[in-house]
């Protein structure tokens, strides 16, 4: 039990959970700079939930309030052509392409930003049915790379990261620059890509750094590998204690007075004078980051850039964006001895060589619908 420590003249770092940081690290190392009192977590994630309205000092204003509605249709088409020419013409790389290192144990590659499409049913070759979630890696580009030395000066840098990791900023879904502010558009100048609707960052080791401007496709991942998918769960709004925490409530009749869906008791017994911190109460439910670990990739569609991962459990509604990266689970993560030819730092179209890429790649255990029905042959 941690006693309350007095904060004497220390420079307090702000609550250091950035918007898209993985919160497993905060679970393993709960030494957050502000958290000093005991929190009864009851095996749930910490209650410091970053709400979308929370602003960070380093965030730039994204959307612009100015609307230029006075353009004629000809001018509008002209502007659109200018935008296309600016971003679609291939720009020569200023420096040479970055070096491609081999995969080693401990290497962390970038992830990608995917769009959760929905869930369909698939079957294994033994006839067992299961659900897979479709994740589309649409219009992803690497926006920036922050080397470890620079990242260690960031406010969001955690002490236990030291200088092991750099940051890879990845963006998805190109948009018209006119709807964004100048400051936001300037973030994409280095990469030379159109401004993106969504941005996120991934912690990577320097040997897996990708040059800004590189497109990420679904071939960054391979069939049979495992990924962690992080997304925001469905926003249920302000909910009562029964829906939010699964409490049982009280009977509808038999003398119960005005207390059918209430919490009931709140006390901590003789141990606590008042209510324990972390007591489950009504409040805002959902719209918090949720990570699914170790989801297997069963199938890849290279034409539409789609991953088929195990289960219906990717958080959020359809068309939510998800962060997809190689898993951290020790038995399923990429390792030198069991994973060969890991695309490092990412997959490039030059890696294809002469063979045309198959549109669909299947796991060996997945039933392909072009195969005949699963029936054993009779012993004649």
């Amino acid at each position: 039990m941690m006693a309350a420590k007095p904060l004497l003249g220390k420079v307090l770092r702000p609550c250091s959970i950035a918007l898209f940081e993985t919160h497993i690290s905060s679970k393993l190392f709960p030494i957050s700079s502000v958290c000093v009192q005991q929190i009864r977590e009851k095996s749930r994630s910490p209650k410091y939930v970053v709400r979308p309205t929370t602003r960070r000092p380093w965030h730039v204003r994204k959307w612009t309030t100015k609307q230029d509605a006075s353009l004629t249709s000809e001018n509008e088409t002209f502007v659109q052509d200018v935008i296309k020419d600016q971003y679609l013409s291939p720009s020569p790389l200023k420096e040479g392409p970055w070096e491609r290192n081999d995969f080693q144990n401990g290497t962390r590659r970038t992830g990608a930003l995917a769009l959760k499409l929905g869930v369909i049913k698939q079957w294994t070759n033994s006839g067992k049915s299961f659900y897979v979630t479709l994740l589309q890696i649409l219009d992803n580009h690497v926006i920036n790379y922050v080397p470890p030395a620079q990242y260690s000066a960031y406010p969001s840098h955690k002490p236990h990261h030291a200088e092991r990791f750099g940051l890879q900023i990845v963006g998805a879904l190109s948009c018209d620059p006119r709807q964004f502010s100048k400051a936001y558009n300037n973030l994409f100048v280095k990469a030379g890509v159109p401004p993106k609707r969504w941005l996120t960052r991934f912690l990577i080791t320097p040997d897996a750094a990708v040059e800004p401007g590189t497109a990420l496709s679904v071939n960054h991942f391979r069939v049979g590998d495992f990924v962690d998918v992080q997304s925001r769960s469905k926003d249920w709004g302000f909910q009562g204690v029964i829906k939010r925490w699964g409490m049982k409530g009280m009977p509808a009749s038999h003398g119960v007075t005005k207390s059918h869906r209430k919490m009931g008791g709140t006390g901590g017994g003789g141990d606590k004078d008042g209510i324990w911190r972390g007591k489950r109460m009504p409040g805002v439910m959902g719209n918090r980051l949720s990570t699914q670990f170790g989801l297997k990739i069963w199938r890849i569609n290279t034409k539409y850039n789609i991953l088929y991962v195990t289960g219906p459990a990717v958080a959020g509604v359809p068309h939510t964006f998800c962060r997809v990266k190689d898993t951290v689970l020790p038995k399923k993560c990429l390792r030198e001895d069991r994973s060969e030819n890991v695309p490092m730092p990412t997959w490039f179209p030059e890696d294809l060589g002469d063979d045309p890429q198959p549109e669909e790649i299947f796991d060996k255990d997945l039933f392909q619908f072009t195969e005949p029905s699963l029936v054993e042959e009779t012993e004649s």
């Binding site: 049915s129 299961f130 659900y131 029964i242 049982k248 409530g249 009280m250 009977p251 509808a252 009749s253 038999h254 059918h260 869906r261 219906p312």
Partner: protein, 150 residues
């Protein structure tokens, strides 16, 4: 498992929940589970079974040999028949089943003694073929009596 849950609303006829519940938690539609005191139907030609059917008192489950106390196809149960306790295997369920597994209109059981030997020597109704895949109990003696598999 996922299939059962997803098809739940489609399976029951589109019936309105006509009753009112006297508890604040949600109630599900009829699950037709085999639990304590469920009434079963004996489908072998044992003497006790026939006698119970003539009287009109169906055997009732008093224990399910299972962690969850809910009986599934192929589970062993303890039933009371005509005042006596007998062991039995479930060979047909009214409960909604997974795909390719048949659901029967009655909850059927076959009586066995303590060693697992069936008390009758014939099973009078068809038995789900899925029981042949059963890894839980020793159903081979019961299955050898069956004439028809569905």
């Amino acid at each position: 498992m996922a299939t059962l849950l997803s098809n739940a609303s489609q399976f029951a006829p589109a019936a309105v929940r006509l009753g009112t519940t006297c508890c604040a938690f949600s109630t599900t539609s009829k699950l037709l589970e085999v639990r304590l005191l469920s009434r079963m139907r004996i489908v072998d030609n044992s003497a006790i079974g026939r006698a119970a059917a003539e009287i009109g008192k169906p055997p009732r489950v008093i224990h399910v040999y299972n962690k969850k106390q809910v009986g599934h196809l192929g589970d062993k149960v303890l039933v009371t028949v005509k005042g006596e306790m007998r062991r039995a295997y479930i060979v047909g369920l009214k409960q909604k089943q997974r795909p390719n597994v048949p659901r029967t209109d009655t909850n059927n059981i076959v009586l066995v003694d303590d060693n697992g030997n069936p008390l009758g020597n014939r099973v009078l109704v068809p038995i789900p073929s899925a029981l042949r895949a059963n890894k839980k109990g020793d159903l081979t003696k019961v299955l050898s009596l069956a004439t028809k598999f569905v």
